[in-house]
Symmetry: C3
Subunit: 207 residues, 3 copies
């Protein structure tokens, strides 16, 4: 198991925890909690694979991520009352996972000969935000990534850096560069509470 | 027309009726009622085919299921005031259809050389619940299968039995075994009103 | 740039404007406004390509439509307060775009050897309404095309005319015939305010 696997697992755990907590909060049954956790964790990757024609999606061929999501869900079911204390740890895990998935998705696009800046970036964004968009649609919320926080833009920055880095560096350097930029930017946004502006907000005191 | 076709048609009718009734209840127009009925009936199969790379989906190549859904929708439009009396009949049809679709989906996965227990099971679950998840997302409800009743778990039991049965039996035996287990379990759950627990329910008197 | 490109661009602009306006109205952030605009503009085409197995979808291979959507979004962000005055212009653009996309989608289906009336029609409908269904699901609305106005039916009429015209005419004649029928019917429906009936409406004074 490489460091990379550890990053990916941290991401899957963070995504699954957010899905499971959402499910518990919305009072769905335990099957629903599991589905929401798994969907949040692997939904973005499934969308990516369906779009680039990489079927059946990786998640279906190798159930590792599914199993990790299921274990995380069971963990959440027993500990959800105290998870609020670990909110920042989960956010850091999430940022690390986002970096890892951005890099692997950008790399996967290149491996499938989808070799343009546009496709590498959009594929990375879909992988990064797809799962949480599905989660929010399932529980009747306007997707969180559309409403608050700078999330997808860090993926875009990482994917662009990957695209250009692969022309100059070989081996794993582009992957790690992409990871550092995405995760680093995301952690900065969390620390300094940076949000995108909402248009029309200045027209009144409404939130 | 074999017995199997009859099972599938009963399922398509039950799914389409549930979609059409939802549409009427949510006061969408007649085109919306038709789309909801068709989506509920064939949405799970389309998701399955897109995921396993079986494109264009079977439904698009052979419009039989679409035509049956459309006829069921027209029927519902004229009889929806009295359909409540046939609630149990529709539930039985739904259980029979769920069994038939679970078996054909598990079989389709095997035919596409997706020959692992994990993929056979997930493909069967997606086919079984995909349509009703889409229906509920379209009408702004948290999917019913996440909230109440033991539904998908009967599909999982059926798919597992199919996967192991195909090693020991030939011909249609695995199909019929899967059908009997899925449909039988589902009817038991309906008769005894078995629901999954909701986490946190014991912490207060809330529903 | 042919007249056809102009029609498609008018459609993309109209779709993107409707997505961006929805986003501003629902108070999502500027990233969300962009995603909603792009999804509305190209979502139907992506669904079509995933379903017919034309992966990666055209939009990912050629970012022209994405760029036009992004420019339209920027324009809307600066002018949304006054766009209400151009409501009818946007509707006309939308009708023109609907006609163009119906024709290109029907043609694409034929080019992929999906040569039945049923598949040509459903593929055209999915392309025509897919984007706006996604937009409405993202912002927690029951899709507008299910609730009001005769929208998809004009696409169906156009696709049917395309299917039969290709047996008798060569070159671009079927494309233009399909375009004229779809756009013409749609404009008639707007002008005369034709809506589909809602079932049960006559049972009381409810809306």
């Amino acid at each position: 198991m490489t460091a990379w696997n550890v990053f990916e697992i941290m991401g899957i755990v963070a995504f699954a925890v957010s899905g499971a907590l959402t499910g518990i909060q919305k009072r769905v049954d335990i099957f629903g909690v599991l589905v929401l956790a798994v969907t949040t964790a692997v939904g973005g990757g499934i969308m990516r694979d369906v779009i680039i024609g990489n079927t059946p999606p990786l998640t279906f061929r190798d159930p590792t991520f599914f199993i990790i999501s299921a274990i995380a869900t069971i963990g959440v079911c027993f500990t959800y009352r105290w998870l609020d204390k670990f909110k920042h740890t989960i956010q850091i895990f999430d940022a690390i996972g986002l970096g890892a998935f951005t890099a692997t998705s950008a790399n996967l696009a290149i491996e499938h000969n989808l070799n343009t800046l546009f496709i590498v970036t959009t594929v990375a964004v879909i992988t990064g935000i797809g799962g949480s968009v599905l989660r929010d649609v399932f529980v009747k919320e306007i997707p969180y990534v559309f409403r608050q926080e700078v999330y997808a833009i860090t993926t875009i920055a990482g994917a662009i850096s990957f695209y250009y880095a692969q022309f100059y560096f070989t081996g794993n350097i582009p992957l790690y560069l992409c990871f550092c930029i995405t995760t680093g930017l995301r952690i900065c946004c969390i620390m300094y509470g940076i949000n995108f502006p909402v248009i029309g907000v200045n027209s009144g005191g409404r939130t």
